[in-house]
């Protein structure tokens, strides 16, 4: 009996642990193992050491010239941009009374829910390549352009449009968490702060709101980092082609899909995934440093 008690917590933990091991830990370990092998999904994996990684950083010109710069540009703008936008909008919405607040929160949250539908209904119509597209029609009427621009097929514009669309739909779970965080800040703290000499809303945000909702800020940051780095479908959905025109909208996950499921070079794809994992881990660490409670 006593012996059983000693292992009781393991038994209680076991449902979670089994699921965690099967669905998260095991895939990661297998991916890391596969990244050191050559594996084409038919023959058994052959050990090649660091070769995949060396190839990735030296031989894969598309990765180094297009995919990596695209991903960095995309995530540097969409990550912090979407995060700041989420916070500002959450703060603004939090100032409203209950019923309008709920309605606005729902409106702002809906783009991230309905991304697939709105992509077809809103954005592809807006950026349509012929003169019927809203943006083209507007610019033509104002006389800025003299013939319609192929927004979604042109390598110069695709990434910019992807960034705009992603920013628009970035009010996701992080936004909701921050809204809840702002609403949960103790009102008495503000009163106390005003007695202590705080005089405006900016100081209120910096000295009270943000410190009081650090956990939600951290959650929002990690969510936005993970989301931006793992975005994949957007370029393909907008341009309608895979790979995107001249790799203009190719992000890391597109590259993984390209090698994994089109060329069946699983080992190489696994190596790219591991690099992606490391990048996400690195940025999450920075987020922890900024918002974590140690």
């Amino acid at each position: 009996m006593k012996k059983l008690k000693k292992y009781m917590h393991w038994i209680l933990l076991s449902p979670y642990l089994t699921l965690f091991v099967i669905f998260i830990l095991l895939p990661i370990v297998v991916a890391i193992y596969l990244s050191f092998t050559y594996f084409n999904a038919i023959q058994s994996p052959r050990w090649v050491g660091l070769q995949n990684y060396v190839n990735l950083f030296t031989r894969d010109e598309i990765f180094m010239q297009k995919v990596l710069p695209n991903t960095i540009k995309f995530s540097l703008i969409v990550g912090p941009g979407g995060y700041i936008l989420s916070f500002i909008l959450a703060w603004l919405v939090a100032q409203l009374t209950k019923i309008p607040r709920t309605i606005f929160a729902l409106i702002l949250y809906s783009p991230s829910l309905t991304a697939g539908v709105t992509m077809a209904v809103v954005w592809r119509v807006l950026f349509n390549g012929d003169q019927q597209g809203y943006l083209n029609a507007l610019l033509l009427r104002l006389g800025f352009i003299d013939k319609p621009i192929q927004w979604l097929q042109s390598p110069e514009h695709l990434l910019t449009i992807m960034i705009i669309v992603s920013l628009w739909s970035s009010m996701g779970v992080g936004f909701l968490a921050m809204l809840a965080g702002i609403l949960n800040v103790d009102e008495t703290l503000y009163e106390a702060a005003y007695i202590d000499g705080i005089r405006n809303r900016l100081q209120e945000i910096i000295y009270i709101t943000i410190p009081a909702m650090k956990p939600q800020m951290l959650f929002g940051a990690v969510m936005s980092i993970v989301q931006t780095f793992t975005t994949a479908g957007i370029g393909v959905a907008l341009s309608g082609t895979n790979p995107t025109p001249q790799y203009a909208g190719q992000l890391i996950v597109n590259h993984i899909e390209d090698y994994g499921f089109l060329r069946y070079e699983m080992g190489y794809a696994a190596a790219v995934s591991v690099v992606l994992l490391l990048i996400i881990y690195l940025f999450s660490r920075i987020a922890w440093k900024l918002f974590g409670d140690n």
Binding site: V54, T58, M64, P69, D146, N200
Partner: protein, 663 residues
């Protein structure tokens, strides 16, 4: 003996640099500047000086015969270059021929006086006349004034009509209107849009002429592509059109061609090199991509010289590379023969296009002996090396040619090679470093040791206080004002650091990312930083002392220095980054700089707010007033300076006068 050697050397140098040419040949050299190079073309002979040409407007060369549209005499003059015989065509049927084109069977003449295109066969018999197109699409009231024309292999006519803003008129062989071809674009600037807001429709119609510029002349190459020139344009005066009419000349699309606003004629040789002629007689030769190879010729101002022109009107080039230029004023044709130098360059360019990189390389190396600093040569040599895979040499030559884009590509390859050779080591070292810090951090945490170096020196501490501005700007500015941290001395040192970083930013970037400031002196840069900053400190003090600001002059001096913290700390890293990045990753540099500078401005803003204890509104007001004050100070200073200058000059003049009288 020694004297003799010196003398021989002197003669040799004179011989090497002297030429029997009356004009100089220019090319683009280092730093994208004009430079004199060896003679590329020399005048071999002058023909038709006794043919009685009177204001000839156009010339076409076909099968060894020159066809000249002799406008003043209303005829087409045919000159056989071999037999040196002249014949006349259309003496009785033409009025003012201004354009001529010849294909395998027919001679096409654009007659602006009769508003018709007249077609003759090779014997000179009139075959057909094409008048104004009757199609409704062409327009009932549109004028048809054919000035220049070319004909493609299918017999379609491309006509430049005088005053036509819609582009080139395209007709089929029967004279049916096919459509307009590739009109120029109107550029509407932000200023135009602004004017639009205020002007009424009538005013706009009266004042504004926003018509596209008409084409002036055109040419066709042996692939059937049309080349046009537009006057009063810069950067894209020359255009090469595909069959849709779109401009496909790479440099011209970027608006960055080296060209002139007064081109009158253009022609293309069999290899696709473009020759353009200005009214003043300058001849520009470009390669297939629109890079300038040579510029030579010029205007005969005081007296006639071979190779110079009074008013040039037409240019042609034959298969041997000889250039024929028609002088409208004098009614003569001058023939330019390419020198060995030019022939070699042409040969190398052709070999490169054919993909024979190795052969082109050896020729380029020969040509380099003629001119060691010509962009064209170094570009060609760099490209040849690049194709060969010798990226280091390629980068070297691209650098001399000031070709940043190609240099960036070569540098990418060099970096890639380096990574390929050392990737395994780099990966292992990175992993070890990561593990080391991770484990080290864990151990320190476990044993609760804090690694903190205590610095006793107050001044050093004050300077290092800079880093606190990054994370806690509001608190740090509070302490700076209180005087707990920071002093005038530390602020001065930080100013010096700031200046150092700015100078580094201006001068120390890598070749790919440099700001084209190689000729600017360090002193100029330093002065242009210190002056505004000190003006800011002073005017902010003036403004805030009226507007209930808390900060004293000392406070303002100190906080301004400290608010440069993000720039001082992070910009050097960005500058160092320029040495490993290429154009591919240029986004990182621009984004990083933008980020650092905006951060600095935000910190400065917070600094004003905290130092003077202002509200948001007061802060913005204070900053705007300070800027206005800076402008006022500059204005007053310049007026006073000018007045003093006057007084000084007057006094100086009087003294001079007195001294003169006394003497």
């Amino acid at each position: 003996m020694k004297k003799q050697i010196v003398l021989i050397f002197l003669i040799l140098t004179i011989l090497a640099f002297s030429s029997n040419s009356t004009f100089l040949t220019y090319t683009i050299g280092q730093n994208n500047k004009w430079k004199i190079t060896q003679d590329a073309y020399l005048v071999s002979e002058i023909i038709l000086d006794d043919a009685g040409l009177y204001y000839p407007e156009d010339m076409y060369l076909k099968d060894g015969k020159l066809y000249i549209a002799d406008s003043g005499n209303a005829r087409i003059l045919v000159y056989d270059l071999k037999t040196r015989e002249t014949t006349e065509i259309g003496s009785w049927s033409l009025f003012t021929p201004t354009g001529v084109f010849v294909d395998d069977n027919y001679i096409y003449v654009a007659d602006i006086g009769m508003s018709e295109v007249v077609i003759f066969d090779k014997e000179g018999n009139e075959v057909k006349r094409i008048g104004k197109p009757k199609s409704i699409l062409f327009g009932q009231y549109t004028k048809f004034k054919p000035k220049k024309l070319v004909v493609d292999k299918r017999g379609n006519l491309y006509i430049v009509s005088e005053g036509s803003l819609d582009g080139i008129i395209q007709l089929d062989r029967n004279g049916e209107f096919l459509g307009y071809f590739g009109a120029n674009k109107v550029r509407i600037t932000a200023l135009d849009k602004f004017i639009d807001l205020f002007y009424s429709k009538e005013q706009k119609e009266r004042i504004l002429t926003r018509a596209p510029k008409p084409y002036y002349n055109l040419a066709i190459d042996n692939k059937g592509l049309i080349y046009t020139i537009t006057q009063k344009e810069h950067g894209d005066a020359i255009k090469k059109h595909n069959t849709l009419g779109n401009n496909i000349l790479y440099l011209s699309r970027l608006d960055s061609m080296v060209d002139e606003a007064n081109f009158v004629d253009i022609t293309v040789d069999k290899d696709g090199r473009i020759f353009a002629l200005t009214e003043t007689g300058l001849i520009y030769e470009y390669d297939q991509e629109g890079n300038l190879i040579f510029s030579f010729g010029g205007r005969a101002i005081a007296y006639d010289k071979n190779g110079l022109f009074s008013v040039a009107s037409s240019i042609e080039v034959d298969d041997e590379g000889r250039i024929y230029v028609l002088d409208r004023e004098k009614g003569i044709v001058q023939i330019f023969n390419p020198t060995i130098y030019a022939t070699l360059i042409h040969k190398a360019l052709n070999l490169y296009i054919q993909g024979k990189y190795l052969e082109s390389k050896s020729i380029w190396q020969d040509v380099l002996k003629y001119d060691g600093f010509s962009s064209v040569i170094h570009n060609g040599l760099g490209k040849a090396y690049f194709q060969e895979g010798k990226y280091k040499e390629a980068a070297l030559h691209f650098k001399v040619a000031y070709n940043k884009r190609e240099y960036s590509d070569a540098f990418w390859e060099i970096r890639n090679q380096f990574l390929q050779e050392n990737m395994k080591i780099i990966l292992i070292i990175l992993f070890l470093l990561l593990a080391f810090f991770e484990i080290g951090g864990r151990i320190l945490k476990k044993k609760n040791i804090k690694l903190k170096i205590q610095i006793k020196n107050k001044l050093l501490n004050d300077i290092l206080y800079l880093k606190n501005l990054l994370r806690h700007p509001i608190d740090s500015f509070y302490y700076l004002r209180k005087g707990t941290h920071g002093s005038v001395l530390s602020a001065s040192i930080i100013y010096a650091l700031f200046v150092l970083v700015v100078v580094f930013d201006y001068m120390g970037r890598s070749f790919i990312f440099n700001l084209n400031t190689s000729e600017r002196s360090v002193g100029y840069v330093v002065l242009s930083i210190i002056a505004p900053v000190m003006l800011w400190v002073f005017s902010n003090y003036l403004v805030s002392s009226i507007n209930e600001g808390r900060g004293t002059l000392k406070n303002i001096y100190i906080f301004t220095a400290y608010s440069a913290a993000p720039y001082i700390i992070f910009q050097p890293f960005i500058i160092l980054l320029t040495y490993v990045l290429t154009y591919n990753e240029s986004f990182l540099i621009s984004f990083g700089s933008f980020f650092v500078i905006s951060w600095t401005i935000i910190v400065l803003f917070i600094g004003v707010k905290e130092t003077h204890d202002y509200h948001l509104k007061g802060t913005i007001g204070s900053i705007l007033y300070s800027i206005v004050w800076i402008l006022v100070i500059v204005l007053v200073f310049s007026i006073v300076y000018m007045l003093w200058d006057q007084i000084f000059e007057t006094v100086y003049g009087i003294i001079q006068e007195v001294l003169y009288r006394v003497r």
